[in-house]
Symmetry: C2
Subunit: 197 residues, 2 copies
């Protein structure tokens, strides 16, 4: 195990530098991170094959799932649980906007890169629906929520609908609740056919 300590120090220095720049709001570029970390650009690329994977490492710090577990303690209503999941994700996205934007943009531009993307939202959704899904078919509801409880949705609300951060979260929560409530009411989750004929 050659030079493990040295390498760990280097790695965390790079991630710390990236986080530093992310917090500052400035655009995160590899040269900037390398300089901030007092490391050559080549070395940064040795640890992270590309900017996106570095950003990913910098963003994947806080544990949203733990926060959700805390927030859903004792709550069994799936509607309420889904709403809280939406709120937690929304706030997390807003907190690290710059880096999240870069990661999301990159995985949209090159879907192949999205393959390696650790999709945190699924864990949130799964946990939110856990009690209910035990006795129901949550397939379609899970997909509904995958679309709603997402950074992409947050950006749609703030950038396109021009909502303030708080309004955006409120709207996201409302949508998550509404879609969950609809699925719950529909029973086994077959919404498309429960139309008014």
């Amino acid at each position: 195990m050659p030079r493990t300590n040295q390498m760990e120090r280097t790695r965390s220095a790079i991630v710390a530098a990236a986080r530093e720049i992310a917090e500052s709001g400035a655009e995160i570029t590899m040269p900037a991170v390398a300089a901030e970390a007092r490391v050559s650009e080549a070395t940064a690329y040795r640890y992270f094959p590309d900017l996106v994977s570095l950003l990913r490492a910098a963003v994947t710090a806080d544990d949203q799932l733990a926060a959700l577990q805390a927030a859903t303690e004792g709550v069994t209503d799936p509607v309420e649980r889904a709403g809280r999941a939406a709120e937690i994700l929304g706030r997390a996205v807003l907190r690290r906007q710059g880096a999240v934007r870069a990661v999301v943009a990159a995985s949209i531009a090159r879907p192949s890169a999205a393959a390696e993307r650790p999709v945190r939202r699924f864990a949130l959704i799964e946990h939110a629906l856990a009690p209910w899904a035990a006795t129901h078919d949550g397939e379609q509801l899970a997909r509904d929520l995958a679309v709603v409880i997402s950074a992409e949705s947050m950006f749609t609300l703030t950038d396109l609908c021009r909502l303030s951060p708080d309004e955006a979260i409120a709207s996201l929560v409302a949508t998550a609740r509404r879609v969950t409530a609809a699925a719950v009411r529909a029973g086994s989750g077959d919404p498309a056919h429960s139309t008014i004929t």
Copy 2:
């Protein structure tokens, strides 16, 4: 009006070249478009300040709104109308995936650029809800649908949920219907409070 014809020919040659490359599936770069259009790169930049605005021009060809109008002829049920809007947008996105991905990615990365983005989805949503919104408050439902009926959602479904194109559209439609049905059922569209207590 100096050299108007010439300029129009040049402009459309550039857009045509971009569309050509987009159809071919290859990545769209400014050098490639310029070469394909038999125009110098500098000239391409004279007509389009950046790649994104060129892509936008290349994508904004077909008229989704007209398609929706045709598809909702005589249909008054907002659920059905919303579903059709979702389908039309979904198919349009899939058709020009490459270019759409680039445009969406760019507007997520730089929200300022999103300001100039002609948000086609709003026209679709507005038209879908028109009959119903005349007598109801559709504020929140419009936001719900803005999140659902979007290229971003399509990419979430195909890339992250790993659905096939057809499955993705089916899921998008189902979500749009479900969310609309829920709002319609809720009456004046106040969903977050219509929870099972």
